[in-house]
Amino acid sequence: MAEEQVIVGLEVHCQLDTKSKLFCGCSTDYRSDGPNTHVCPVCLGLPGAMPVLNKRSIEYAMRVAKALNCTVLHESEFSRKNYFYPDLDKAYQITQYDKPLAEGGYLEIEGDEGGEKRIRITRIHVEEDPGRLVHMGNAERGKYSLVDYNRAGIPLIEIVSEPDMRSPKEARKFLNKLRATLEYLSVFDSEKEGSLRVDANISIKGSERVEVKNISSYKGVEKALLFEITRQKSLLRRGQKVDRETRHYIEARGVTQSSRSKEQEHDYRYFPEPDLRPLHVQSWVEGIVLPELPDARRERFIARYGCSLNHARTLTGELRLANFFERVVAADPKGLATLADTWIADTLIGELNYRDMSIHDLAMDEKNTTGFIQLLGLVKDRKCYDKMGIDILRQMLDTVKQGRPYETPLEIMKRLGLVPLDVASGGTSPGGASLSETNPVTRAIAEVITEQPAAVEDFYKGKKGAFNFLIGQLMKKTRGCADPGELNRLLTEELQTKEV
């Protein structure tokens, strides 16, 4: 049986990073404040209050429209989407329905089959976020909800894609590329909690489509899609059919769950919002000057810094990461470009991911950026070898994560007792005189040879891998504080001497 084709389309909701809400002057900077402290008659839905559209939200949305190659419509309009829910202050959401801001664009991603792939954008529209619900109580004593309207009225942009993605991986790439694009446009901050929410439409070719709602993280998208695809495929394999339905993603359990049928009977009774006037903003498009976007920056990184394609993709895939890279390189453009490329795109990203940290966590304190630059300087000047550098980096990240006071790389080196071992003074003389007994490197080599007779034997038998094993042991003993090149040379010499 041929592999069933997976079809995925996404509806991505992002909070636009304006100062005030979409229809009132309340501040959008609510996350660290108490409930219901950023509300006014408009966003609380008090009787008689009226919405007034925030111009910047439209400008931001139009930047996105232009960057995603969409056509801004001659006339767009806001409508009311009517439904009851305690977090919805007016019992309708002001959104755009039959006259969205923009239609018909695309975003290029790296496709599963290699090369660039175009994901078509159906439409872009602007709408308001509802408030936030907290579920309280229990089955015995009665359940109820608590509502905080601080989030009500935060501007959202909804970007709807065509069903052009063929795997969860492509969906993730689309989302990452979209996030990067929005951040490059300075209209969105992915670091803000809950600033992105995704609904996904998933089907196996020839079967019904399922909508999965409530995906609220980048990682969640791939997980939710994988779960849903597996579920649908196994249904089909057992000869059952997939129902057309709406499901919710339960992040904690990594599963999708059918929404109760009652909720599906939505009839939103859309009609134009009579308290707002239509938009005629097509002519603004011309005046929008787009900044350098991820693809252009990627090409520049390759051309200017000699980054590999993969590294350039990684580095430019996140605005803060790209900025961090360029900050680091700027400190010593000739010396650090090559080093920074690998250290940031591979080592740093790996260590951050391991700790569930983002580049923002590191780079938001300027000292850490300086520290990272110093660290790379030490590595470059061979005052610190790769393995030592990684240890120091791990310490730096742990310090940030645990909120401990900042230490410079040199301070960390000192604290850990990581001193570059002076291999040269313990080295052999060209004449092949015996090694000094007191030098730690010399001692370590002697110890390893004594402790690993089998590996030494294998080496003499010409077994590949034996030498690397011995080097590994040697690195461990010297805690990475010796120049790996020198170690290599000294061990080779020692083994050869022995053999003679």
Binding site: L44, M136, R277, P278
Partner: protein, 89 residues
């Protein structure tokens, strides 16, 4: 022509409820009004609504919000600064 069942469904959709004893009269009056609305079938033309006001917007400037006590003042039930609402789960 709306049936009693439809009228009940509409009452449900609108969350206004309807008593069994008022359903008959309600449906009768509802239909009389809907019949009257049928005159709209005779409307011809397809003009969109004309407006002379577009792009009414404000600048992105933060204005003071209400004090929390004013926000909660009219709420019948509250808890720790939140407004209490029925359960949704």
């Amino acid at each position: 022509m709306a049936t009693e069942q439809e009228v009940r469904h509409i009452a449900e959709l609108a969350d206004v409820g309807i008593n069994p004893e008022e359903l008959g009269t309600f449906t009768h009056q509802f239909n009389a009004i809907l019949d009257y609305f049928d005159v709209l079938d005779r409307v011809s033309g397809d003009t969109a609504v004309t407006r002379d006001l577009y792009n009414v917007m404000r600048d992105d400037i933060v204005k003071p919000s209400l004090p929390q006590k004013d926000v909660l003042a009219n709420a019948p039930a509250q808890e720790d600064g939140f407004i209490k609402a029925p359960r949704v789960m």
